[in-house]
Amino acid sequence: MDWEAIWLTARLAALVSAILLVISLPLAHWLVFSRRRWTFLVEAVVSLPLVLPPTVLGFYLLLAMGSRSPVGRWWTSLTGQSLAFTFEGLVIASVFYSLPFAVQPIAAAFAQVNHTLGEASATLGASRLRTFLRVTLPLSMHGVVAGAVLSFAHTVGEFGVVLMVGGNLPGVTRTISIAIYDDVQALRYERANETALALLAFSLLVLLAVYGARRRSWALAPTA
């Protein structure tokens, strides 16, 4: 079993999901509650990374991070090293790629919360932030969990982008999905099966924990 890859993947997926939640919650909130006309445009743009094949998206990200792009040069001048082929680069690329999986279900859930409850919260002196944290968010938990699960699982399974931007460096950017891919490529089916099974088992545990917990704590709260 490739423990190095498993550990790397767990770190990557956890970090990416966390970052995605931090980005998606306010973004989804803005998309749903903003009165501006063009929010739906932003919504569409956010979903775009989805339609590109991951390897191609990875290729463009690679170009953007490379020394030929201003962003890449700026980063290199700042940190002394290219973003590509580093863990940080991988995180950024994954965040980019999985963003719609987090934003979409969360925004959908926000839109469904009875807005009178937000009004009640405001009359009780709650700031927008407090209303969000104590009313909108808990009542959208189903959607937020869906977003988190989708983006976590998707990051675990992500492959094309990681391969392209990460360069398959053991311990740095070789995630478990790449490790399995390598095994399959090398026709080492047995090892691939083993790792895939372990991955499935691990993911099943994580998912069961998430869904089980949800069932207990907030599934009973209705929404009116």
Partner: protein, 226 residues
């Protein structure tokens, strides 16, 4: 390193490490991907490509040392099928006429050297037009092998190195396609300009030239470079 090296390279690396004490980490993949990554600063030291074009382009773009460019082997191609398919590959490419061969897997000629060679071989045998409706394309030579090994395609043109590998040796039979039936699959290596371990990289390429390394490559199904 190119995917077709997956069987041979571990043995080479083990010997090299034993001899020099230098640790080598290998990443396999598509040569096209590597080429793109190297142009964008991938921290590799040596690039073992499945053809000579990618290394040449890298040299031209000053991402690799012109002096280090070395053709380390020539790929050999076989027509492969599963033993349980009942197809007799000893008849050579002519088996494509067999009705049981509904699908023939080759690597994608657009970017895989083995794919280009397979197309050339079919053309020279005058079979390409007949084969064309039956062709399915693998992304690289390993995937091509999987298409056949899983029983979805009945025959495929793959690298000899794979056919000799532990996974396929037991399950299939093959017939080598003569080297003169297609342009040679010239595989070249270079040391990359961005390498931080240039010395070790150079030594590894030097080792590849050694008789021992060349013998190993031969054992795993590669022909010597011409």
């Amino acid at each position: 390193a190119a995917s077709d090296l997956q069987t041979a390279l571990p043995a080479l690396v083990a010997r090299f490490e034993q001899a020099t004490g230098i640790r080598v980490r290998v990443t396999y993949g598509s040569s096209g991907n590597f080429s793109a990554q190297i142009q964008n600063g991938a921290p590799f030291d040596v690039f073992l490509s499945a053809d000579v074009d990618y290394p040449r382009q890298l040299v031209a773009a000053r991402h690799a040392d012109a002096a280090s460019l070395y053709e380390y082997a020539t790929g050999r191609m076989v027509l492969w099928t599963r033993k349980d398919s009942g197809i007799d590959v000893t008849r050579g490419l002519a088996v494509l006429g067999d009705a049981r061969v509904r699908r023939l897997a080759i690597a994608n000629p657009v970017h895989a050297p083995y794919g280009r060679a397979a197309v050339a071989a079919l053309e020279r045998a005058g079979l390409f037009d007949a084969a064309k409706p039956k062709l399915v394309l693998g992304e690289n030579i390993s995937q091509t092998a999987q298409l056949v090994d899983s029983g979805n395609a009945q025959a495929g043109i793959i690298a000899l190195s794979l056919a000799l590998g532990p996974a396929l040796r037991a399950s299939g039979t093959y017939l080598e396609i003569p080297a003169d039936a297609h342009p040679p699959i010239r595989q070249a290596a270079v040391v990359l300009s961005a390498s931080k371990n240039r010395d070790a990289a150079t030594r590894f390429l030097a080792y590849l030239r050694s008789a021992e390394a060349q013998a190993t490559l031969r054992r795993f199904g590669f022909a010597p470079a011409r």
